[in-house]
Structures are given as C-alpha cells and as structure tokens.
Symmetry: C2
Subunit: 310 residues, 2 copies
C-alpha cells in the first residue's frame, strides 16, 4: 500500500468563462469541483495505475466534507482509502478561472485553516498506524499554519523507521527542513531546486541537494523532462513528443510515476520513464489534472532514458 | 409579517486580493461568505429594521446548506424565518473578487440549479400558507430554469387574493410576464425600465409601465435617487449627500425601505424617503451589501421628497 500525505488539502474549483475581463461580471459556463492538494492528485493517479493508496492529511468544514464525498465517488474509489483527519478549521477552496477563448487560467487560492496541536497529534497517530502496511509514502505540498515547521522531518523519520520509501514534494522551508531527515527522494522543479541550493544549473543543484540530505533527487525540467540523481547513478529523460496542453497536475503525475515504481522495486531508469510518460500524458489530457491512459501506454515505451553526464 | 421570495438563491463569496492580474495566481487575503440573492438581501435589511420576515425560495446542495446555516446565524436571526424549500439541485455560488488596490470587483456567477416541477409545486404550497399571515411580499430576482415563465404572475395573483401588498423586483421576461398580474409595485432601475418600455426617459417609461400593469413604479436612478409614480401622484427624492462607496445591495435596501413602509401603511413620500436613505446608507457602509444604521438615521430626515412634474 502507498500513503500520500496532504496537510493542506483543497477543494479545487474550475470555472470556465467566455473571456476574463477584469472588473466585469462573468457568467460561468460550467463549474467543476474536485479534491485537490498535491497528495490527493498523486493518489488519484496511483489508483488509476492500479495501486491501493491511502490518503491522509486534514479536512474540515463544508469544503472538507465535499472533498471526502468526491473522493468516495472517484472512478477508482475501490483502491482509494480515506484516512483524512477531521479538523475544526475549514478546508480551503482554490478557484481557477479558465478563459475559454485563450485557455489561460487565473487562480484564486483561499487561505487554509489553522491546525490545532491536538489535530497534528491525531494525524501522527493515524500515520504511524498506516505505516505498518505501507511500501511507499509521498509527503506533498505546503504546511498549513499550526503544523510544526519540522513536520516533514518527523514524518520522514517515522517512514524510514518503518522501512517505507519516502518521497518529499515540497518547497521553501518545508523542503529545507525535511531534507535534514534524509528522504529517499525529493522532486523539486528547477526553480525550487535553485531556491534550495542557489545553483541555477539543475545537475549541479541536484548534486548539492543530495549533499544537503536527499538520498536521491528527481528534478522536473518542464518540457525538457526530468533528471534523476541517485546513489547509483544519474539519468535524464525527455518526453518523446512535443507537448501542447495544460501542464496542471503534470508534476503530481510524475510523483505518482516515481512512487509506484519505487513500490514495485523498479530500477531508476524505469521509474524515470514512467514519471516522464505519465507527466506527458497529463499535459495531453483534455481535462486539467487528469492523465490520458491511452497516451500513457503509447508514450511509455518511447521514452528514452540516457545516463546523465555530470 | 413580510415574505421575501428568492427563487434563485446564491451563496455570495467575496475574495479580497492585493491586485487582480489576469492569468496569474492570487493569494486570497480573506474570504467572506454570506447568503445571497436579492430576496435574502432584502430580508436581512428588513430584519435589521425590526420587521419580522420569512424567506422562501429554493436551496440545495452544500452551498444551499451553507446559506441556511448562515441565515440562522445572522445578527437579527430572531426576526428571520427560514421557509426555503429544499431541492435536489445545487444552489449556486457567486464569487466576487475585490481588488484591494482599486476597490473594483470582478464577478463570477455560477449557473443555478434546475428546479423540478414538484419542487415548484411544493414552493407554491409553502407560499400560500405563509400568505395567511403576510402584510407584504417581495418577489425578487431571476427565475431559475425549470420554473414556469409565468411564475411571478402566479405568485402576484396569490398575494393579491390574500390581501398582501406585492412588490416585484425583476427584469426581462420575468418582469414583463409578472406585470400582467398587476403587482402593487415594481422597482426597476432606469436601464430595466427602458428595456421594458422602450423609453429612455424615466418618467415617461414609468407611466408606460403603469399602463402595462404595474399599479405603482419606483424607478431607481442611481446617484439621482428614486422616482415613484403611483395612482395618487408622483414623487422624486435624491440622497442629501454626494455618495462615495460600494453600490452593491443599494437596490435591495431600497426594496426593503419601500416594503417596510408599505407594511406600516406609510404614505408614498415617506416610503420613498426611507428607500433613498437606506439605499444611501448601504453605499456608505464599509462592508458591501450591508447598511450603516447610524448613517440611515442621520440621512432619513434630510431626504427631500418633491412632487414629480411629468
């Protein structure tokens, strides 16, 4: 079983409008709501790949209820276990306004709830229980107010003590502090990696991130694919086709690819190929944040993984 | 008791952002939710004025639940009775994004639910029961899909048969079709009145609207105040001060002023003065859609009502 942890869950709302005009009134053509927050996106992709996955994190208020209701109604709900911890605070919404003419999205992100100390303690208890049967863990996204800044370091230590592979997908102080606990893998994009290390060149920055505590680094390089730097080598892979589409969720699909590969014990090049193909199949999917299974199957054997020359 | 009918209830959400930048990602500084739809706004003002008021209309889904929860938590909730009819459809949200720098608002209005025929029948039954103890009724806003286009005509006939004063605040076909049932008062703005009659000049248009079936017309003229044309005369009144502020909800406050005056049996000039003072006190209030009670008390005696020369 795989665990994904989303401390800052969201209800993602997408509004399609004919065209965004500042200070005007817009008729919303259609409104779509879905469970959001990186870890929930990763879990959805894992379930679609056939992996049993348990989601934990915090959920509260009407939007939190809606997230849980919609998780239970997902197409692959049979593989998705909801172990979210109820909180007194209100789960945030994010509203993405898609301009139907240009396809551009304007985002509005509500502030998230504050987590009480006892709620964090409850989550730790739930997490420890889940670890007993977990092969791999993804710790995803930002830390809500009220959660200790060292939260990810604590969760990483617990996972490693339980023998589970642990991936950290965070940025800023949450990433920096998490590294101290030596996660098996981090998945920053080039910008996050540069922010962490001060190096703009991804290979150099990845080496530095490993020195700072990451056992392996998978750096997502946008259209250029991904670079992996691990103990036993370095590899690069790019998508086999020029991608046009919506990159929303492509990073979360890459995490699902890396994590499912780890859970199956695949070697690094196979994990990398899976991450790149899933990520590309997400950009190509018509709905933002979904992946196109047919495109994934078609792209996977065509992803070329090459040793990274450092 | 006063009844307000809101067939197209909304949960109004206001997001404050530092500055609206199309296609960018925005951190929402604060999010405020409140019951919305014209009739609910009118009811809130009536309750604040000390009038017992019963709200009916349709509410469903998570946003409908939230509307009801918030109605029960209103400062004047003791005077507000919730007689909303539950529906299978989902009550819409409206999202207003306020640019903290300029104060300008960008609106996103979700499509509303479709009302089932049996839900409309249930509402008619609830409405008939409420009419037994009602002095005045306000029918407010647009008709949701599924409700007969002659809905307002039906509700007006029922109210008149029960001896209640009935005000119609609608536009387009809903207003046009409602007129046939001879409402006691309509409250269009200059644009709606021109759309109904084809006359741009408010006094001329108001006379024409009376010929089309309205027993009286209160035309809101923005910063110029309001014009009333009734069976026994015509009057105009303008706010006594130059108004700077947010006009959101000013029209709904005017309806509350007109309706409370009718319920109390006040003569037209006093109803008009109340509507203009309440409307001005709403523009001046710091929160959009609220009215400033102190400003209202101060402005009311200063509103000058003059006979309208036709």
């Amino acid at each position: 079983m795989i665990i994904t942890v989303t401390l800052n869950v969201a209800l993602d709302v997408t509004y399609r409008v004919p065209a965004l005009i500042p200070h005007a009134s817009h008729r919303v053509l259609d409104a779509v709501e879905r469970p959001g927050g990186k870890g929930l996106n990763v879990a959805r992709v894992l379930a679609a790949l056939g992996h049993p996955v348990t989601v934990t994190g915090f959920a509260g208020g009407p939007a939190g209820d809606e997230v849980r209701r919609r998780l239970a109604a997902e197409p692959h709900a049979a593989l998705l276990t909801d172990a979210l911890v109820p909180i007194d605070g209100q789960t945030r919404r994010t509203v993405g306004v898609v301009d139907a003419a240009s396809g551009d999205t304007t985002m509005f992100n509500e502030p998230g709830p504050t987590v009480a100390p006892r709620e964090w303690t409850t989550l730790l208890g739930v997490y420890r229980e889940l670890l007993a049967s977990a092969d791999a863990v993804a710790l995803c996204g930002s830390l809500p107010p009220g959660v200790p800044v060292g939260a990810y370091a604590t969760l990483i230590r617990e996972a490693r003590a339980a023998g589970a592979h642990v991936l950290l997908d965070a940025s800023g102080p949450a990433l920096r502090r998490g590294l101290a606990a030596r996660p098996d893998l981090i998945k920053p994009n080039a910008e996050e990696l540069a922010g962490l290390t001060g190096f703009a060149e991804p290979a150099k920055a990845a080496r530095d991130a490993r020195r700072r505590g990451a056992r392996a680094v998978a750096a997502s390089l946008g259209a250029d694919g991904m670079l992996v730097l691990a103990e036993d080598g370095g590899w690069r892979a790019a998508p086999p086709v020029k991608l046009a589409g919506n990159p929303t969720g492509a990073g979360d699909s890459a995490v699902a690819g890396l994590l499912s590969g780890a859970a199956e014990g695949l070697p690094w090049p196979a994990r990398l190929a899976r991450a790149v193909a899933l990520s590309a199949a997400t950009v190509l999917a018509p709905a933002a944040g979904e992946f196109d299974p047919a495109a994934y199957e078609e792209l996977l054997p065509r992803v070329e993984v090459v040793p990274a020359t450092s």
